[in-house]
Symmetry: C2
Subunit: 370 residues, 2 copies
């Protein structure tokens, strides 16, 4: 796996369970996965040589992020199966290509337009209205590279950065949903229950699995959309799709082709975790059951706060709520940095308590405030 | 953790989840845990120097087996906290000391006697009847070091080995149960649901969690017995107690103070796995909830068969039953060797199907026979 963040770290645990040899390409020995993995190579994922040296001896190469340059993916693919492949990964690396492809498939999306300058933005806003969402065409994640602009002045400020952007309609959604599916090279696919994600400032804070009170027909529609996309885009491995639920139906917001924050609940909450499923898919092993094992799961992300000593607070949280599953990624604590997550299992009727338990633990770990 | 077999391997996964640094002392780089752990030292657990070198830099030392010599445990304990401590571990290393201590505590056990020769065995059998069970006082596990002798001739054959033994009454039990508890240095304790173990030739083949149709009062009695023992013996970490359920009540068969085969079901089946719980206990972290997450779990061990190529059969099992959790330990396959286990989650009403699914997968992995 190229990349050694928390996604690779959790994939490492799954690889141990499956009895699969697992190597990571880490930027540094301090990376989350590099701390725990038995087979670590330190190197630069933007270096063709480092990538090829890393891949030597691997049966399959996969990724914990989407930032490997396309031309290197092509070079890698000559040496070893690369899953997902460059043609699929492109739609996670280039938001304009993604929007154009989805539009071509007739998949409902927010209105969008490539924009080169402020005139382009204001022309787009004349149709779609203000605010306008500007998104970096490549390189953004977790709210980075996304700007909600309420006025032409704000848009001009974004356009002053040397970053290619597209404009997207600002969606007044009811809530955000996410769907995770896995697809293997010979075409087997499995889709997880639809979850609700709760975002703040474009960053996922909470996942409710399954999405509360989601109509069965809507859930089916979302799952079918994602299974269809996985096949159309020839995804191998996981495909995570972030959706807006709106009065005019579901709209696709973002795609990722790797384990995804919206799927962390599957570690304890599903028969097959997303990390195990990704490995099974990219290795072309038969996929596992994606069903939930309990009727309701809540996951809350833990972010770094002003005080870096998260580990002394860890003890208090363990003592206060012995039913929580706390995952810390071994990252250096910086304010706002995603350093772990908390999962709690229960029943839909208890969802308010589950959210309170997970949220309180995440908050206390970050800030020491109850 | 001293020892790098499958117990250490699964503890390694739990350590990653908890964000805890984890080092193993392996006999060889091919050991199950040595293959997957980021911090491996190869050495000899019977060497005082190797043990001390290994422990240097560790906050706590614990074990995946009970074979470290007592005098080395004492030397280790001068350098670093050793959990469980030598005084507790002694009762897993010396079956005579264990029986005497349990008798002193009034814990119900099979009748037993130290025996030095055939005259001792026949004198014991005159009271307890034939067959007599001879057990090596130290070094036995998984049916090794246990001989069921139907006649004085069979006993004489065992006594011809240069092994110190005790005689135990052969128990005509209804079934075998096991209880797992964790206890931390400051005395917090947590006990798992009582399970039924199904043994063949003294080796555990199957675990049913919880034990089907166990009366609540009996379950409570078993759990209270084990929590009491953990406190009396000053166990830190896990205590696993194997019990006979008989017409005259519960009798203690064996003790272990480490993660135990009867607790593998907790990886998917309990809020806190036994491996995570052992780490929390020996590190004096608050313990996690030991409750089951689903109403019935079945675990079946996978043993090596005549054909070592278990990995090609692995694919078929994954394809045939995508709801199974298959764990392979990365061991070289030898006939009869425990090389993995299979867990399946469900409901008590489905127990026959759950046993069939887990058992069939384990059998097929071993033999290729359906």
């Amino acid at each position: 796996m190229v990349g050694a963040g928390q996604l690779a770290q959790m994939t490492c645990q799954a690889a141990i369970g499956l009895g699969i040899g697992f190597r990571v390409l880490a930027a540094s020995a301090a990376d989350s996965a590099a701390q725990v993995c038995a087979d670590v190579q330190v190197g630069d994922y933007t270096s063709r040589d480092d990538l090829l040296a890393f891949a030597s001896g691997c049966d399959v190469v996969t990724f914990d992020h989407e930032h490997v340059p396309g031309q290197h993916l092509a070079a890698l693919a000559e040496a070893v199966p690369v899953r997902p492949g460059a043609a699929a990964l492109r739609y996670t690396q280039d938001k304009l290509a993604m929007r154009e492809r989805l539009a071509g498939l007739g998949v409902p999306c927010p209105r969008y337009a490539p924009v080169a300058d402020l005139a382009g933005v204001t022309a787009f806003a004349a149709q779609a209205g203000w605010p306008v969402v500007l998104k970096a065409i490549s390189g953004g994640y977790d709210g980075r590279g996304v700007w909600v602009c309420g006025t032409p002045d704000e848009a001009a400020e974004v356009l002053a950065h040397p970053v290619a952007v597209i404009a997207e309609e600002h969606i007044d959604f009811d809530r955000e949903l996410a769907v995770l599916a896995a697809r293997s090279p010979h075409g087997q696919a499995a889709v997880y229950p639809v979850v609700q994600t709760v975002q703040r400032d474009g960053i996922c804070h909470e996942v409710l699995a399954p999405a509360p009170l989601l109509r069965e027909r809507r859930a089916y529609e979302a799952q079918r959309l994602v299974l269809g996309l996985a096949a159309e885009l020839d995804v191998t491995g996981l495909l995570a799709v972030e959706l807006f639920e709106t009065r005019r139906g579901l709209l696709v917001n973002e795609l990722a082709m790797r384990p995804h924050n919206s799927g962390h609940w599957t570690i304890e909450g599903a028969v097959t975790s997303q990390f195990e499923q990704h490995l099974r898919a990219v290795l072309d092993l038969p996929l596992g059951t994606p069903a939930a094992v309990v009727p309701q799961v809540v996951m809350a992300n833990v972010f770094g706060g002003p005080d870096p000593d998260v580990y002394s607070r860890y003890l208090h949280v363990m003592a206060a709520d012995p039913g929580l599953k706390i995952h810390l990624y071994g990252k250096q604590v910086r304010p706002g940095r995603k350093i772990g997550h908390v999962t709690v299992l229960g029943y839909p009727g208890l969802i308010d308590q589950l959210r309170e338990r997970a949220g309180r633990a995440a908050r206390y770990l970050a800030t020491g405030e109850d």
